[in-house]
Structure formats: structure tokens, C-alpha cells
Homo-oligomer: 215 residues x 2
């Protein structure tokens, strides 16, 4: 496990992103019945060139078969193992407005249609008294003060931040104090976090606004 | 309008992104009752330094008042005008699975709670016969063949791609042939598009997978 950790920390983020993309391509329903996939096909779907695919996958050993390609099932298993992509990860959502609710429905539905979908919605948090006690697909809305100390990522690995910008930093500070180390931020604000905490930014309205500017 | 276009094309993407972020901060409910905002406050929420804020806003004239800050309402109007952020933009969603449905509910709810929310869901498309004819908040699901020729961005400016990876390129090619010039892609595939078409990539599961890798 120590060695694993070492290898992981040495892989650049951009390679990790591509490996995740390869894995998602292999898991796509259209791929399920394919026995082999060529580096050219993988490259096509991932938007890179075949040499890049071969180079990325060669980092971890010899998967491919000359002239046939990569065995889909085998490559999938290898990528899952490299990425640790079979570990269940608990998710909580902060802010149960329209976006938070939509994400809650999305996550619970993914999990329902695929028992192996590893992101498991554990709880919803909102400070609005009229929301507290409500349920979305069986997951209850609680006040922030009900967030327990987090022990393991499968307990709560990631907090999704879907509160207004003005509340986001405070919510994240509190979540960090409870042990959450990963966040997806939908609030239009840059979060200040210590170096051992990671934040990914994503915002549908912002994305639409950016696109719209160029139309 | 020609001059406007010229100025627009000269502003780097990163500045546009920051201007959009400033505008979203000014529009945040917490800001509504404030008369002034300082460059330090704007910088704090946007995650940049105050000098950057002042430099970005100075590009477009003199908004600030020494020692008081920027007048919130005025700066908001200026940014809306610079960004063209008051033009309504029609949206269609391709793929009405869990993600597509959640996005449809999100967009219609935003529009319902704020009549000025400019992204208007026009139609939903899915090739699954069991989906066709269904409605989400009054917007009907149609087969792809029902997509009409697009004339104006307020008609359909942006297509949201929420179909499986294997179908995404084909759907986008068809949408481009009908005149759509902007896409938000949720499918785990890089799209090939001509230079006059823009794509933004966004993918909640991919974001979660990337974060999870580092937990």
C-alpha cells in the first residue's frame, strides 16, 4: 500500500484524468460486448492520439496485443485497480436547493441503476428550517450541526457544495473541521482550503454563461 | 455592434471567466442589499487579488470610487452590458436519462424562481421510444429528427449533450448541421467540431472520480 501510494503521487494529474477517461470509455454500455479495443479507438473517444494512449497505458505494464488491441475486460480491471476505482466513497451535499436536489436525485439514481456505482449519497444538509426533515430518494435533509466526525472516505469522502456563494466558505471550513478532505464546489466563489484538502470547481450556470458570451 | 464584437474578441478567455464570476458575485442574494462592494471583497469571493479585480474592471472604464468601492447595481449593469448577459439563450438537452432530466429540472426551476434567468429550456431530445412524448416541467421529449433548423441563439444557442459516449459525436454532428454553435458536453468523450463551434466539458462523475483518486 505504501508503494501504491508512492506510484500514485508520481502520476501527473493530466495522466490521471486520461486514465479515468479511458476507464469510463471501457465502462460505456456500448463497450460491454466488445472483446478488444484498439489504441486508435480509445484515442478517438478520449480525444488524444494513439501514441498517447499507448504511452499512458505502458506506464503500468503490457496490456495490449499487437494487431488486436487491448482486452476490454482485462484493461478495465487493471485501470480500476490502478485508480482504486472500486472503493466506495460516501458523498454529502451541502445546500438542498434546485441544484443540490438535482444532484441528489442524480446520485441516488445512478446507484439504483448500477449497484457498483461507488458514489453513495450519505446525507443532505441545509440550514433552511422548512427543508430539514424532508427526504430525497430516502436520504434525509439535516441541519449542518448534525454532521458527524468523518473517519473514512467510504463514510464521507466528498462534500458537494451547492450553497450560495456567501455561505460556501463557512460551510467548507466546518466540513474540514469534521474531517472531509475533498469538495466539489458549485458556488461561484474560490474556496480557501489547507494543502491536504482538494477542491474541484464546477458550475453549470457559469459554463452556460461562458459559452453564451461567444454565441 | 461591430465595435462591440471587436472588443469582445480581444478579451482573453481568462478575463471573461473572471468578469462572469464578478457578475455572479454581484447577483448573489447576499449582495442585493449592499450599495457598494470593495475590490478586496470582490477579490475575496473570486479568489484573486484586489489588484487583479481593479485591473480587470479598469479595462472597461472607471467604475470604482476611491475609499468606497464599486456601486453594486451600477457595476452589475455594466458587466451585464459588457458580457451581453441579458440576452435570452435557448437551450436544448440531448439525452433524457437521469442526468438530462436533472439538468432539465434545474434549468426550468431556475427560470421559474427568477424570470430573468436567461437560459430557457426549449426542448428535450431522446431516441428511446419509451421516453418520447413525456414531459419535464412542461417541456416535451422528442426524437432527434424533430430538431428544427436553428436561426438565433435565443431560439437555440446551446445544446447540452447528456447521451452515452458512443452516441455523442453523431448527435453533435447532427445538431451542428441544424445550426447549433455551442455545446456543454457531459459525455466522457472529446468532441470533434469545426472552429466556429465551441464546446465546454463538464462531467460530475468524472469530477468525483478525479477527487476520489486523491482521497
Amino acid at each position: 500500500v505504501g508503494g501504491d501510494k508512492l506510484i500514485r503521487n508520481r502520476i501527473p494529474d493530466v495522466v490521471i484524468q486520461r486514465l479515468i477517461t479511458y476507464l469510463r470509455i471501457l465502462r460505456d454500455p456500448a463497450m460491454v460486448n466488445e472483446e478488444y479495443i484498439s489504441s486508435a479507438q480509445l484515442a478517438h473517444f478520449a480525444g488524444v492520439n494513439s501514441a498517447q494512449v499507448r504511452k499512458d497505458l505502458a506506464l503500468f505494464g503490457e496490456f495490449g496485443k499487437q494487431g488486436v488491441g487491448y482486452p476490454v475486460k482485462n484493461l478495465q480491471e487493471e485501470l480500476v485497480s490502478i485508480l482504486g476505482a472500486d472503493r466506495p466513497i460516501g458523498i454529502v451535499i451541502f445546500g438542498v436547493g434546485e441544484l443540490g436536489s438535482a444532484l441528489a436525485r442524480f446520485l441516488t439514481a445512478r446507484r439504483k441503476e448500477n449497484k457498483e456505482y461507488r458514489f453513495i449519497l450519505r446525507a443532505l444538509f441545509d440550514e433552511n428550517p422548512s427543508m430539514i426533515g424532508k427526504e430525497i430518494n430516502g436520504v434525509k435533509v439535516r441541519p449542518l450541526s448534525a454532521l458527524d466526525r468523518v473517519e473514512e472516505p467510504q463514510d464521507v469522502g466528498i462534500g458537494i457544495v451547492a450553497v450560495p456563494a456567501a455561505a460556501a466558505q463557512q460551510v467548507v471550513d466546518f466540513a474540514i473541521s469534521k474531517g472531509i478532505r475533498g469538495f466539489v464546489n458549485f458556488a461561484p466563489i474560490k474556496l480557501k482550503v489547507p494543502p491536504n484538502v482538494r477542491v474541484q470547481y464546477t458550475d453549470v450556470t457559469l459554463t452556460l454563461e461562458e459559452l453564451a458570451f461567444y454565441l
